[in-house]
């Protein structure tokens, strides 16, 4: 039983989340274990999780994308520009903005997969380019977005905010795809051994490019959601998002060398960070400390993981 929990990051995170929640619930019985607080936590992590699902896909295939935070901002600003300056109807504006995110993913994916540019350099460069483009489109940002747009992120279903539903849907759909479809199963092989995957008849380059497109597309969806939830689009949205998301995905069981990870891990990793952040707010820890503590938690988790695996993998 212990072995199972230790070896599977999903179980480990669930246990860890329960333990942390119970202890916090005992210390702060009036503020922490409430429906309002938990729906707030889920709402806070929903955007991160949607982006993290795409990042999980990339890390499973052995690559990553640093430009997702910029894509979130760019899509938010672009959709606002389309609606307010170009008077394009809401649904079409959304489609065009997401299409532009897919195009960014395509460029990243093409250059990395076919031209063999290092993913870190390529997406770092793209991060700057896209952030610059976002600033260019919106300058100081856009407010008072149309009602029909804002309703996407601001309405509720069964008392729960819509972004939470979108997040759960994304996690469920991708979780199913990764475990049950031949197409997505191939990503584990690509991350496990790229050369062997190619010789096993997998079109590695094409698959990798598609992974970047999917991940950028999810970042685009996140951009739409965040701007509709805020009713505003700022070019500074999603700053630092890429690192937060990569942290969540690594916490969720992915490895930088590829081949490992499950989609629910992206949610649990993001949730873990969200709960810790929430606890610190409740406990009135200063904002500066929050970042430090999150960093320490990441290092500690990875160390614990290595230590436990070492101890139990030999049994």
């Amino acid at each position: 039983m212990i072995k199972r929990i230790v070896q599977d990051r999903i179980y480990l995170l669930i246990v860890l989340l329960m333990v942390v929640s119970i202890i916090t619930g005992i210390i702060f019985p009036t503020t922490f274990p409430t429906f309002t607080n938990f729906s707030q936590i889920f709402l806070n992590v929903s955007i991160d999780t949607i982006v993290a699902v795409g990042m999980m896909l990339l890390l499973i295939s052995g690559v990553f994308d640093l430009s997702v935070g910029s894509v979130v901002a760019f899509v938010a600003c672009l959709v606002a520009y389309f609606m307010q300056e170009a008077n394009i109807p809401v649904p079409l504006a959304i489609l065009l903005a997401i299409a532009s995110a897919l195009l960014i993913g395509l460029v990243n994916g093409y250059l990395i997969a076919y031209k063999e540019i290092n993913p870190m350099i390529q997406t770092l460069a793209m991060m700057g380019i896209v952030r610059g483009a976002a600033l260019m489109i919106s300058v100081a940002g856009a407010q008072n977005l149309p009602y029909h747009f804002n309703i996407i992120g601001q309405s509720k279903l069964l008392g729960v905010q819509m972004p939470v539903w979108y997040m759960l849907l994304t996690v469920l759909v991708f979780s199913f795809l990764m475990t049950r479809t031949i197409f997505f199963r191939r990503y584990y092989y690509i991350g496990g051994n790229e050369k062997a995957a190619e010789l096993s008849g997998i079109h590695v380059k094409k698959m990798k490019m598609i992974a970047f497109v999917i991940s950028a597309g999810l970042a685009g969806v996140a951009g739409i959601l965040i701007s509709s939830r805020l009713g505003a689009a700022l070019p500074t949205l999603g700053r630092g998002l890429e690192l937060r998301v990569i942290t969540a995905v690594i916490l969720g069981g992915a490895s930088l060398s590829g081949g490992f990870g499950k989609i629910p891990g992206a949610l649990l990793g993001a949730l873990f960070m969200g709960i810790i952040a929430n606890i610190m707010v409740i406990a009135r820890v200063s904002g500066y400390w929050q970042e430090i503590i999150l960093g320490i938690i990441l290092i500690f988790t990875l160390w614990l993981d290595k230590a436990l695996l070492k101890k139990y993998s030999k049994l």
């Binding site: 199963r185 496990g192 050369k195 062997a196 010789l199 490992f260």
Partner: protein, 490 residues
């Protein structure tokens, strides 16, 4: 060195007793061969001598004095140098920096004395008749050159005991000759050599005495003169092995036809492969055999020529296409190109045909498991379960997993590249049996191998490649090692 004695050495890992009461004595100036199947404990014993592992029990005695090593550095200090099977060179550094890793010659200020280092490197290399500049980067070397540099690295430490683990696995005949020459020279200098190899012919050529390990236990030490190959194999494997002969199941249907095929490393290749036939592809390392195989499989570009499968032209630009047409390619480098080491046996077995593991439209873990279990039984893969990671299997079982993976694609044509490279005698014979069974069932097999006895043993026909062209073809009845070597190296 006077002598090295191992007394009652035992070592356990979780779940296995890797070494059980080993007693071996190596005399000065002796070439002492260590034989055993994979998993017999040879590597463990070697790692104990090189300071990588500590024995649980027992003593290592050098010159009558018990010693113990906590790390490889302490073993060096006792003049023991090891050439590991898996290369320990650093690709981005020069040959000289690799040879003098962590023991650079220094000048009076304690800084690295580059001129001296390059000079000393040049000396060692010329002694080994290796024609490489000391400043060359290791990444630019061929596998055989890397192996020679690895040996040079060990010799630069002027050892009294040299441990060689499968040193000839990636060497060509010419380099093997040089290596043997060096070994004999070292022997004259009273250096002791512990020689580990799967190639029994080398052991009979070089060794003075042979110690045999089986399942971690010591089976005894024998004078070479007192052993025959058959006896040696029997002691290692614990049973007699059948004699090799081809299955002779050749039918008249042509499965694969290659016409005037040219690529970067080969030109104008023509041959036919029939149903039920095993065709050998012999040649020296670098003769273009692997490149030809990769081109047929669509992994490398073809410059000119035609490949026909079942009389249908194959316009192959990607392995996916070749697999679809019924070609399978078992690569020579199973750990880097064949297996997904971190993934389970089951995931590996279905990797080339994920669609076979579908139930309805979707991938089914249960179906994949079922297929893997079938393969496990059929190929007698020794693994605790199909969920075990491929990296935890022995070489022979890993190779069976790769074979199982390709059989899962239901191929008509199997191209097997060094299928028994680095696997033990028992597993080798099992692989031969499987290949012959496949031929009998009507598949065509193209077998690349540098192990001539195995080509002579099971191939109906042998094509010899020399500098990228076919220099001759020998039928089973006429083929001899001499004829093959003459065609391969003229």
């Amino acid at each position: 060195m006077q002598q090295l004695r191992l007394e009652h050495i035992s070592k356990s890992f979780p779940g296995v007793k890797a070494l059980d009461d080993i007693n071996i004595e190596v005399k000065p100036g002796e070439v002492h061969a260590l034989c055993g199947e994979n998993g017999a404990g040879k590597s463990t014993l070697m790692n104990i001598l090189s300071g990588d592992l500590r024995p649980d029990e027992g003593t290592i005695i050098i010159n009558g004095e018990p010693v113990s090593f906590d790390n490889p550095k302490e073993a060096f200090e006792k003049s023991i140098a090891t050439v590991h099977q898996h290369l320990s060179l650093i690709d981005n550094l020069s040959v000289a920096e690799n040879i003098f890793a962590n023991q650079h010659p220094v000048n009076r200020l304690g800084l690295i004395h580059y001129r001296k280092m390059y000079q000393q490197t040049a000396d060692v290399l010329s002694e080994l008749k290796i024609n490489i500049a000391p400043t060359m980067l290791v990444s630019a070397l061929s596998p055989a050159q890397k192996q020679m540099v690895e040996i040079a690295k060990a010799l630069a430490r002027k050892p009294q005991l040299l441990i060689l683990d499968e040193p000839t696995a990636s060497l060509t005949d010419k380099e093997i000759k040089v290596l043997f020459h060096i070994i004999r020279y070292l022997k004259q200098q009273d250096v002791s050599i512990l020689y580990i190899s799967h190639r029994l012919s080398e052991i009979f050529e070089l060794a003075d005495r042979v110690s045999i390990l089986k399942d971690g236990k010591y089976e005894g030490t024998f004078q070479k003169a007192a052993l025959t190959t058959q006896q040696l194999i029997k002691r290692m494997v614990g049973r007699d092995l059948i004699d090799l002969k081809p299955s002779s199941a050749k039918q008249s249907t042509i499965l694969l036809e290659v016409k005037n095929l040219s690529g970067e490393k080969f030109k104008n290749i023509n041959f036919k492969l029939h149903r039920g036939e095993i065709v050998g592809l012999a040649g020296l390392v670098g003769a273009g055999r692997t490149e030809l195989a990769r081109a047929i499989f669509g992994a490398d570009k073809v410059e000119r020529g035609e490949i026909k499968v079942n009389n249908e032209v194959l316009l192959s630009s990607h392995p996916a296409k070749a697999i679809e047409k019924g070609i399978a390619y078992l690569t020579e480098d199973r750990t880097h190109l064949g297996l997904f080491l971190q993934m389970s046996v089951q995931d590996n077995i279905v990797s080339a045909n994920l669609k076979s593991a579908r139930k309805g439209n979707f991938y089914s873990h249960a179906k994949a498991k079922e297929l893997a279990e079938e393969s496990k039984t059929k190929l007698r893969i020794a693994t605790p379960s199909v969920g075990t990671k491929a990296q935890n299997l022995s070489g022979g079982n890993q190779q069976k997993v790769v074979l199982a993976k390709w059989l899962q694609t239901h191929p008509e044509i199997l191209i097997v590249d060094e299928p028994t490279h680095g696997i033990d005698v028992g597993a080798k014979f099992e692989i031969y049996g499987l290949l012959k069974e496949l031929a009998t069932s009507g598949k065509g097999i193209l077998m690349i191998s540098s192990d001539l006895p195995e080509l002579l043993g099971i191939c109906d026909r042998i094509l010899v490649l020399n500098k990228g062209t076919v220099s001759g073809e020998l039928l089973h009845a006429d083929a001899t090692e001499e004829k093959i070597m003459a065609l391969a190296s003229h």
